[in-house]
């Protein structure tokens, strides 16, 4: 058995003596007999060396693909060494939520800097300290828009279905009606949207993903105009890397921007821990869920940072709180902040441009193969959909070459993703395999 308890038997006796007891179990006398656990049916404990072996064997049962052409909400980007090394600092790792501002200025400042950078990316005025992941950030963003007489939620059909499902779960909680806006040629059907909002004076918000699930760019400005003309709010779900080259949602008219921060320096990690980010225009600031760090001054007149706007929060407002979020993903937010600092504006633009250029090259080469026609036209970022003659066979062949192919969609097409981690030679090799072994 392994243990992290320092007390020796002798020390336990000293403590028990102070309590006038002879056994620790006297402290548990209050437990009703019926609730007492017998011996747990789990294995005996073990030392670190044995644990290391056992868990390493588990990790070894997963296949790490050297080449990944799959995204769909989780993206493989290069993570600079500085990001990993800086964020593994023990103090950052083991601190609690910075309630005690005087001994937590480092963490508070790092979050304030994160908030600023995320606002810069999205073109917004305010950000919270982070949320759990992109999907719950989308759901919380939608929840922010509900007003007394406005609770209709509209989500575009071009949204990542996992995000839509999460929004739907939150709506199951709140009882808000959720409607899907149909797609047209892979993009949000603007006419259908207008017609829907026209009929629903209680529409609270519209959620549109940019770039959308198929990698395509939506006409954000036009959508914003429609949404605002009906008095609803527009929530944009955005990929943070794409904002290195594409216009910020705050500029093209979104009221709220939410998204998955994983591409900003977090590993794929089988889907988590990731990072939900959430920003908004100034008027909505006090509706933001979760923690927010603000600037103030201390008793000595210096600049200081604190958790602020806590009046919104559940430990004060209880059932009237705007959200139940307490902890967030602070270490992931720190990671994103270090990533953005290391990349800087030029680096972020470079990553985005490379993703964009390589995806174009890949799309052109793959779609030239018979049976792999591109499904949509128009601007796309780093994902695109092609037809596929036999997804099962295609993916199996690619897997045998260490390649994780595009994600199979319901209609038998493949959703491909190309990031800066993919080289031209990887794409050429992929095309050769598709031509040589799949066709």
């Amino acid at each position: 058995m392994g243990s992290y308890i320092p007390s020796t038997n002798a020390e336990r006796r000293i403590m028990l003596e102070a309590l006038g007891m002879s056994s620790v179990d006297e402290l548990f006398a209050v437990l009703p007999e019926k609730t007492r656990a017998g011996e747990l049916a789990i294995p005996s404990g073990m030392g670190e060396m044995e644990l290391h072996d056992k868990v390493t064997v588990m990790a070894g049962k997963n296949k790490v693909f050297p080449t990944i052409f799959r995204g769909a909400g989780a993206y493989r980007h290069y993570i600079p060494a500085a990001v990993t090394r800086i964020t593994s600092n023990e103090t950052f790792l083991t601190a609690y939520t910075p309630y005690q501002a005087e001994i937590s200025q480092g963490i508070l400042q790092s979050i304030f800097e994160y908030q600023t950078m995320i606002c810069e990316l999205t073109g917004m005025d305010a950000s919270n300290a982070s949320l759990y992941d992109g999907a719950s950030a989308a759901a919380e963003a939608v929840a922010m828009c509900r007003e007394r007489k406005k609770h209709g939620i509209y989500v575009s059909a071009t949204t990542n279905p996992r995000i839509t499902e999460t929004i739907r779960t939150y709506c199951f909680g709140s009882g808000a009606p959720l409607t899907i806006i149909p797609e047209k040629d892979g993009r949000t059907d603007k006419e259908a949207l207008s017609a829907m909002l026209e009929k629903d004076p209680q529409a609270a918000c519209v959620y549109v993903q940019q770039p959308n699930y198929y990698g395509l760019l939506e006409d954000g400005e036009a959508i914003a105009a429609i949404v605002h003309s009906y008095g609803a709010k527009l929530v944009a779900g955005v990929n943070p890397i794409s904002l290195g080259v594409y216009e910020a949602p705050g500029v093209w008219g979104a009221d709220i921007a939410a998204g998955e921060g994983q591409p900003l320096g977090l590993p794929l990690g089988f889907g988590g821990p990731y990072l939900g980010f959430l920003t908004c225009k100034a008027p909505l600031m006090r509706s933001l869920p979760g923690r927010i760090v603000g600037e103030t001054t201390d008793s000595r007149g210096q600049r200081a940072f604190v958790l602020t706007l806590q009046a919104r929060e559940q430990h004060i407002r209880r059932e009237k709180a705007s959200s139940n979020v307490c902890t967030n993903q602070a270490l992931c937010a720190l990671t994103a902040a270090v990533y953005m600092s290391v990349m800087g504006p030029a680096g972020l633009e470079d990553v985005a441009s490379q993703c964009h250029a390589k995806a174009r090259y890949a799309a052109a080469r793959i779609s030239a193969i018979p049976g792999f026609a591109l499904k949509h036209s128009g601007e796309f970022f780093h994902e695109f959909v092609t037809a596929c003659p036999d997804t099962e066979k295609t993916l199996a062949v690619l897997e045998s070459h260490g390649i994780l192919g595009g994600l199979p969609l319901e209609d038998g097409s493949l959703l491909w993703c190309v990031t800066e981690m993919i080289g031209k030679d990887d794409i050429d090799r992929l095309v050769d395999i598709l031509k040589g072994e799949v066709l």
């Binding site: 049916a41 997963n62 493989r76 601190a95 001994i103 821990p273």
Partner: protein, 465 residues
């Protein structure tokens, strides 16, 4: 200390990417960004120094005693970080085909099986990322259950007034109305009041046991029976599980659903406020409603499989301790708390006398009245002594509360040092209260102006605009 943006210099950068090996493609102007984001422009050296300085201005478990009540700030084993960092875990895509991620499923399945055994539950999901999301998920299970039963009138969740604020907030998010249940004088559930509160509109009860006063409710079996008999379900808030882990199982207490904070009881690091994991366990009657796996699932609460990396760490911890070690956690935590409480009880006023479980609450109301010294003053004075303060002003039902949770990974000499510091501070409260009002003095900043922060919120840097 300057912000990153104040250290930024136009033109500085790190050298990360290779040059692009395919033809570059221009972004159509209708989509192209007009103004680049004002991210910092810095050398790696400057970035490294910046974050080193920020770390020095922070306080982790590695920096000292952290008796933050209800947060279970125990030692986070280093091996867990190493294992969660194995490429076989960090470099797998969440949408890989199942046969390529058998190890990941083994982690989840093993953790599920061990945690069900530890809690007395029959199924579990790891989708929720933290306690709050766990609560929300657990309540949706209850909601789905009643809906499935066609029992649409069950719209109320009963929550004791000693509960964490998250409980009522989660209930509201899940679309329930909240019935606040006042505590009995002993801090526990007022059984008669509960009997009066339950009815055909009762969806369920949310309970932390031991509660936020550190008291194990001796009527727990009766309480859960009352709710069950009224047709409701019992929700166990696992925030305080460390007190009884391995010693008593919530499932055996009559609870139907539970959330765990893996970052508390199961020793995964708090990360300055996340990521955690709010795994939700349930009895078989709720299994079909679970996210991801359930046949009649309430739906997804996370895009993928929750905070998987955190589960790897928690599983490592459980495997290390094993069936013999898990109950020792509760034994150690409760012994430490009672020892500290006993040593302080002659000097400080306890919210409730007698034995406690893993934590206890002191009230500084007498000191406030006699010497003008508040719970805040005591807390800030501890900072100057290298101790992270206890939770302040919670639970709300105790005035001037300080909630102390010493956890099992702290040694006798650490407790003795904290006891000595607290006694010394108490002496100062009498002899030199101004010294306490002035605390902290050894920190990089003094007490911040919270009111100013909230009245005129500045939540991002202004770039000299």
């Amino acid at each position: 200390m300057d912000l990153l943006f104040e250290k930024s210099h136009v033109g500085r950068r790190c050298s990360i990417l290779a040059s692009c090996d395919v033809p570059s493609v221009e972004i159509p102007s209708s989509y192209a960004r007009k103004n680049p984001p004002r991210l910092p422009q810095m050398s790696e050296n400057d970035i490294s120094r910046h974050y080193s300085a920020l770390a020095r201005r922070s306080f982790g478990v590695n920096d000292g005693f952290y008796p933050l009540g209800s947060c279970t700030m125990k030692y986070n084993p280093k091996i867990a970080e190493v294992l969660a960092g194995l490429p076989g875990f960090t470099d797998i895509h969440p949408l890989q085909p199942n046969h390529t991620v058998e190890g990941a499923h083994e982690v989840l399945d093993t953790a599920r099986s061990y945690l069900c055994e530890i809690t007395g539950m029959e199924d579990m999901t790891f989708q929720p990322s933290a306690g709050s999301q766990g609560e929300f998920t657990g309540l949706l299970l209850i909601k789905a259950y009643h809906k499935r039963q066609g029992d649409d009138g069950r719209t109320k969740i009963i929550v004791p007034d000693s509960a964490h604020g998250t409980n009522p907030a989660s209930a509201a998010m899940a679309g329930f109305s909240v019935v606040n249940l006042p505590s009995a004088p002993d801090g526990c559930v007022d059984v008669e009041a509960l009997k009066a509160a339950v009815g055909p509109d009762t969806a369920g009860l949310m309970l932390t046991n031991p509660n936020t006063l550190g008291i194990f409710d001796p009527n727990i079996l009766e309480i859960t029976r009352i709710v069950h008999e009224a047709g409701g379900l019992n929700y166990y808030d696992g925030a305080n599980l460390n007190a009884v882990v391995g010693m008593a199982r919530p499932g055996d207490m009559g609870f139907d659903v539970i959330h765990l904070n893996l970052h508390k009881t199961f020793a995964t690091p708090h990360g300055g406020g996340g990521p955690g994991s709010g795994a939700v366990g349930c009895k078989a009657l709720l299994s079909s409603f679970l996210p991801e796996t359930g046949r009649e699932s309430i739906g997804r609460i996370h895009a993928f499989h929750g905070n998987f990396g955190v589960v790897v760490k928690a599983l490592s911890y459980i495997m290390t301790l094993g069936r013999e070690g898990i109950p020792e956690v509760a034994r150690g935590a409760v012994l430490n708390a009672n020892y500290m409480k006993k040593k302080l009880a002659g000097t400080y006023t306890m919210s409730h006398p007698g034995l406690c479980m893993h934590e206890f609450v002191m009230t500084l109301q007498p000191e406030k009245e006699k010497y003008g010294v508040t719970a805040m003053d005591i807390a800030k004075s501890l900072q100057d002594r290298g101790i992270h303060p206890p939770t302040m002003y919670f639970p709300l039902i105790v005035h001037e509360a300080l909630m102390v949770e010493p956890v099992e990974t702290e040694s006798l000499e650490t407790l003795d040092k904290a006891i000595a510091d607290l006694l010394e501070i108490h002496e100062l409260a009498k002899t030199d209260p101004d010294a306490l009002h002035a605390a902290p003095t050894s920190t990089s900043v003094g007490r911040p102006d919270d009111v100013q922060a909230a009245r005129h919120p500045v939540v991002r840097y202004a770039f000299g605009e």
